[in-house]
Symmetry: none
Subunit: 252 residues, 2 copies
Amino acid sequence: MKSAIDLFEPIRIVLVESSHSGNIGAAARAMKVMGLSRLVLVAPRAAVDEVARARASGANDVLAGAKLVANLEDALAGCVYAVAATSRAREISPATGNARQAADALLQHAGQGECALVFGNETSGLTNEHVRLCQAVATIPTSDTYGSLNLAAAVQVFSYELRMSMMASAGIALRPEPAGITDVPATLDEIEGLMHHCETALATIGFFDPANPKRLLPRLRRLFGKARLEREEVNILRGILGAAERRHERDR
Amino acid sequence: MKSAIDLFEPIRIVLVESSHSGNIGAAARAMKVMGLSRLVLVAPRAAVDEVARARASGANDVLAGAKLVANLEDALAGCVYAVAATSRAREISPATGNARQAADALLQHAGQGECALVFGNETSGLTNEHVRLCQAVATIPTSDTYGSLNLAAAVQVFSYELRMSMMASAGIALRPEPAGITDVPATLDEIEGLMHHCETALATIGFFDPANPKRLLPRLRRLFGKARLEREEVNILRGILGAAERRHERDR
């Protein structure tokens, strides 16, 4: 049976533009107490200082090992699955669920590759651009009259749900994989490459007007997210786009 | 259907001899964000001061309404059921469960009378004398190597589990509906129409050879199945195929 460390090793917690040192430290403690250790800070607006270390308490190793990156793309490099923790529904959002469902999904995907759970800034949350880089959105249910969950408290709830899910699933971890197609999930970089190819190829064949984009690309991104694209599927779709482009170039 | 306020009204959160003002404030916020409002402080060792109010944020009403009592007996006055939140098993303890089970039990008993959920001091926890005054003991599972859960984080996890339990028992769907898009699933006829269109259009642009089909069409069918295509998505995909075909016909 895999240990908690093995199951959690592929999972990184990403804090985007956090504004309070205390929250960064408390998030590290919230992670470690549930067995998580990989923290990524995207362009933090607060220092990892004495306040952060005091709130981290015995989780100063998690804080000291935190990776600093400039943007969310860098934070998600190499990931096959990313969940955006948000407090509100989006007009066009990928698959949506609650923290419990997200924990189950993250653990499942962590068996296949690197995964990320992404939290936004204390005041403004995640932007739509941030959310678009993720395959799923997850919310923690809150009171109708007061929904202001502290950032570290949100990290605590998700980390707790990951541990509860891990404990429930650890017993069935030995179940053999279904035979047949080997599902190698596409990485986020590969999905971004596909999205860029869609944009150029669909413009070339006249289906997409970059000057009047409407909602085509977000709709395609959502569709790909729902399908949890595999690497070979990305290759097939890019093959189709390439064939459509080339035929046009050759015929012209 | 009872509202959250009705269901939670009989439940008081009791903090025994808390040592940090910040934790008292953060606990109030953790409660309010999940819909709880009744806080009881037993002989606090820290003041309800500016630090507490800052961490309480929008939950200053919960903090201001907190009842101060001298001992746990007074805090439990009138209760029919009390759960002690502890981090360790006791030599002699009442019924034991985890936070999720405790939340279910608290909600059940809250239908019969006043209930309490009791948290101990940050360093020393609850004494055996405190635990003996309660009908059940509940723990939050933590890492084997680091189990130091912050007091307010523990209040957050239990309050969250109370809300999850309340939503389940009230029949509220746990899965929030994605806003915006109305998901009209594609019918099987529409999927078959799309598959047929793929076959002809991909042959036209030279990506598919009907004489040597290999596994392309089954792979696409599988992808569409995973995505659980909606009607509008079928329309978008057929639009793309049509644009690729027309471009080819026109250019030829």
